[in-house]
Symmetry: C2
Subunit: 587 residues, 2 copies
């Protein structure tokens, strides 16, 4: 079952949700031209569909290998990466100052959705480079930027993020890797990092590590970590590569999925690195990397969900089992209502997640580039609010969606080498890495709800209600029905928000035990709102895109938004009941 990007769906989301026209109107993207979108998506699909997708099952079966010479990528990936670099796919949304193409971020999201959908293990390599690039762009000295950014942005080198240690996962402040000044402006880094995605490989001549470590005089905890950059091969003044640095991959993890993405144990032995940003301010720099990565992991959820949907539809159209009344012989299982329900739910959730992620990317661009300061500020608040939703809601849905994909395949879905099984297994990491989804929900109800006195969530609720009003004003029965659900759901989210903000102040543990269900509700409402926006944008238009937009919004409203009022109890009252049960279960 080859992956084939849902180009019209993606293009529609770019224009209706990410509003590329609005981004272009900021004047910040002189290279952007609306006519570029179609050819870019078409070309990216060729890479995804024709090059990367066929390598996906091979990588699943073979995996990356650790040899004496380092990590060897799964068969075909080095050549695919070369084509990825030649196509200039890495540089789309990065600044021209360092060789980027200066295009809007959502366009890059669209392209990387395709790459992840075709081969998530491969896509992780540029995903980690993104984080490294963002960190250097935001915090690197001009010299470090000049040394590393052009080749990271071109894709000639890749980057990796070295955060986790055995005792320091979610709690990155517990890390113990040391960085000792060498006296020449560089530092000697010593320690062991685990779970380092694409920490080593043979696809590019150099790999640039971003490493969190602790200076000798650093305060304890997260206020004492600093960020360093350490290349695998040192870079001479003329840009050529010099000696090998003293870190290496000493082990690969055996994982449930993303087998072709090497998950490295990295050992640093007086490896030479340079400080990125200020000493002891590594946490802030890390969040720069993490924020980029969080949206991109959410996008992985969209992508692997889309791949599962495509595989599910294809299998359901081909596999014959059972009959329908009034017809002789067995029929394709797509004729069975329960299979249709699974596929429809998958499609609605994938599209809602796509809309959330693209909207988040558009907000990031507006926050950076809009000429009006108030708009920039509002967009930044929207980006901050949407980031945990993009990451956690999209990846939780990816678990559901790929789970249904397995179920549609019946016994075949349980076979380890079926594509549906690979999607399920690959997807399972997405709620975990780059901040577990539990951490996302704490970020949402802790930091994001309290920003600016709760203004960001109030603005979002206003948008939801405006969308509902617009839907009602169409007087079209389907849209009016959606408006009913959207209004009720907005009310539910509002009352949950009021409870959450109050309870965070009065009984933090009770509030936090409702955080995940709160995030789920918020994602449901935002997803439903964006699907409705997309449907509204088609009012007056005819054709399949218009009908499909309305049908997706209507189904999501009936299947998901309708549950919003009941979700409030699971946030508020269940969190109270939890305290009693906890006392029994692990007292």
């Amino acid at each position: 079952m080859p992956y084939n990007a849902p180009i019209s769906q993606i293009a529609h989301t770019l224009s209706r949700i990410a509003r590329l026209d609005e981004l272009a109107a900021t004047g910040a993207f002189p290279n952007f031209d609306a006519d570029l979108v179609a050819p870019i998506l078409d070309e990216a699909n060729k890479l995804a569909r024709d090059v990367l997708a066929p390598l996906n099952p091979i990588g699943h079966k073979t995996g990356a290998k650790l040899t004496d010479a380092g990590v060897v990528a799964a068969p075909g990936l080095s050549d695919a990466y070369r084509q990825f670099v030649e196509g200039a796919w890495m540089s789309l949304a990065f600044p021209e100052a360092f060789g980027g193409q200066g295009l809007p971020k959502p366009l890059a999201l669209a392209v990387f959705e395709m790459i992840h959908g075709a081969n998530m293990a491969f896509g992780l390599c540029p995903l980690l480079s993104f984080g490294a690039i963002e960190a250097l762009l935001a915090h690197g000295s001009p010299e470090l930027q000049q040394t590393y950014l052009p080749k990271l942005i071109s894709g000639e080198w890749t980057g990796a993020m070295n955060l986790t240690e055995p005792q320091a996962g979610s709690d990155v402040g517990a890390l113990t890797t040391k960085a000792v000044p060498n006296g020449d402006g560089s530092y000697a880094i010593t320690g062991q990092k685990i779970f380092i995605t694409w920490g080593d490989h043979d696809m590019t001549p150099n790999i640039i590590q971003l490493v969190l470590a602790r200076l000798p005089d650093a305060p304890p905890g997260s206020k004492g970590i600093s960020l360093f950059v350490a290349p695998k091969f040192f870079v001479n003044a003329d840009g050529s590569l010099g000696e090998r640095n003293t870190f290496k991959c000493i082990g690969l993890e055996h994982k449930m999925g993303i087998h072709a993405s090497p998950t490295c144990v990295m050992e640093y032995t007086n490896a030479k690195g340079w400080l990125v940003g200020e000493a002891n301010k590594g946490l802030a720099a890390m969040f720069t990397m993490m924020n980029s990565a969080r949206l991109n992991v959410g996008l992985e959820g969209v992508a692997v969900g889309e791949a599962a949907l495509q595989a599910g539809i294809a299998y359901a159209q081909e596999r014959k089992q059972g009959s329908v009344p009034g017809e002789k012989g067995s029929v394709a299982i797509i004729r069975h209502p329960d299979v249709q329900r699974m596929l429809a739910t998958m499609a609605a959730n994938v599209q809602a997640a796509r809309a959330i992620c693209y909207a988040c990317g558009a907000a990031a661009d507006l926050a950076e580039h809009h000429p009006d300061e108030a708009t920039r500020k509002a967009a930044k608040a929207r980006e901050d609010l949407l980031t945990p939703l993009a990451k956690a809601w999209s990846t939780d849905r990816a678990i559901d969606v790929t789970n249904s994909g397995v179920q549609i395949h019946g016994g075949m879905g349980f076979m380890g080498e079926t594509a549906a099984a690979q999607f399920y297994l690959d997807a399972r990491i997405t709620p975990i890495y780059e901040g577990t989804n539990g951490i996302q929900s704490i970020d949402l109800v802790g930091r994001k709800l309290s920003m600016d006195g709760g203004a960001a969530m109030r603005a979002l609720l206003d948008d939801v209600r405006t969308t509902a009003r617009d839907a009602r004003d169409t007087n079209q029965p389907q849209l009016v029905a959606i408006a009913d659900h959207l209004e009720t759901a907005a009310g539910a989210l509002e009352s949950a928000t009021v409870w959450m903000i109050a309870t965070m102040g009065s009984a933090r543990d009770v509030a936090l035990s409702g955080a995940t269900n709160y995030l789920r509700l918020a994602g449901d409402v935002v997803g439903g709102c964006l699907l409705t926006r997309a449907a509204l944008s088609e009012i007056g238009a005819a054709g399949q895109d218009a009908d499909k937009s309305v049908a997706l919004a209507a189904y999501f409203a009936e299947d998901t938004l309708a549950r919003a009022p009941a979700a409030v109890a699971s946030i508020t009252r269940a969190s109270q009941a939890l305290q009693d049960l906890g006392a029994q279960l692990w007292a």
Copy 2:
């Protein structure tokens, strides 16, 4: 993390939900003595905890192997099976006439919950033997029964169920395996069967295949299939083993999980078998096997969920990450409210599923043994209604529960050899085999709701309302709050039932597309009702068991029952919206 059976929870469920006293009062279990329960559970736990659990990760890593001599079980399993037979665990609930112990079925469920919890791949072997035994008990001639049942019931031989063929999965009527009369009362069976669990192995000297095949003059479809018994080695008149039959395992599937359970491709080449029951009535005989297997697969869901819960609690108590306000240093992650929420939800759902499965087993015993005919009939209807819930609701929850188990483990949960990962991977088959959960929901809304004019569901709703009333009458605030939820949820289930029965008559496809959500709702309500029953049975009692029962019911009510009203829309209205979306997605 060793598995250790939750003995007090299991014993409590046996006495309060399965009502062993009520079963004993039927007079059908003269061997049963309430004092036996504790030692039986203790001894079974020794097998589960000390013998089977340590072999579970080994089997996951090594798997079963196919050699020229046939399938070789994973290391240690043959010896474990010997201990299983020596402990007489197989024969607990089978008739004394064939060497069984004649004990109540729920007691056997309790023991097999432990076995599956410790090692699901191992537990599948006796699970399949159960099906073979049930088929022979219900449909075999006295001669076949005498030949095969004593050694199947003792466990000296195992049984397997040969149903599926590549083109005949859920649609078993499409099978093409042939059985031609040999003229001596036996038949020559030829064909290929796939997905045959424990179809071959080296743990016992003989394996008894139950095989669905088609006679030469059989009508097409499901009305033309017959059931045969075919031993691996023929049985001489004196009971000794004779020549090898002409079937064999020609391949093993590579699966996502249950690696130690060999999933065989079986090739039959004029293999000699004997008809079980009447010609062309194989479907009815198959359902005898399937019904036994469905409840037992539901039990697997309970068991693997319990194992995931135990591993989750243990890891959360040991793993230190993050801090809590007012305390120095990092704390065990069980202190974090979101981790507590996951564990509480896991515990409440595992216990609800356990209650549903044990209640189903108790109903089966009453249906068979109660002296009063009306009671037998009502119990049979209850068993029929609960079977699809036991199978589908318990296994869907097992996916959720083991998914949370992975999440609690963070990055470690994604490593293939972590116990949490194994539970997640093993659990994934349970919604698929022995009738996919989609098939269960069709069975529920098609056959089970319409039995006897809907009397079974009405009786169930009456029970739920009686339970709610009893809870209200206690005047205890927690139980009154539960009563509120239970009454509202009963109303929701009733209105969904009315819609479902009406719509099955008027628009079958619309109804069927709501079937899975309907089953979910029914399972939520029954689970909530049984947890409340358990809590009520402790009224007046003091101590942890009583407090825990109430806390579980209260949390389940707030977290799950509270959502029941909103679920109705997802069944009724979403099924309508689905038709529109389907037309867009796969027109």
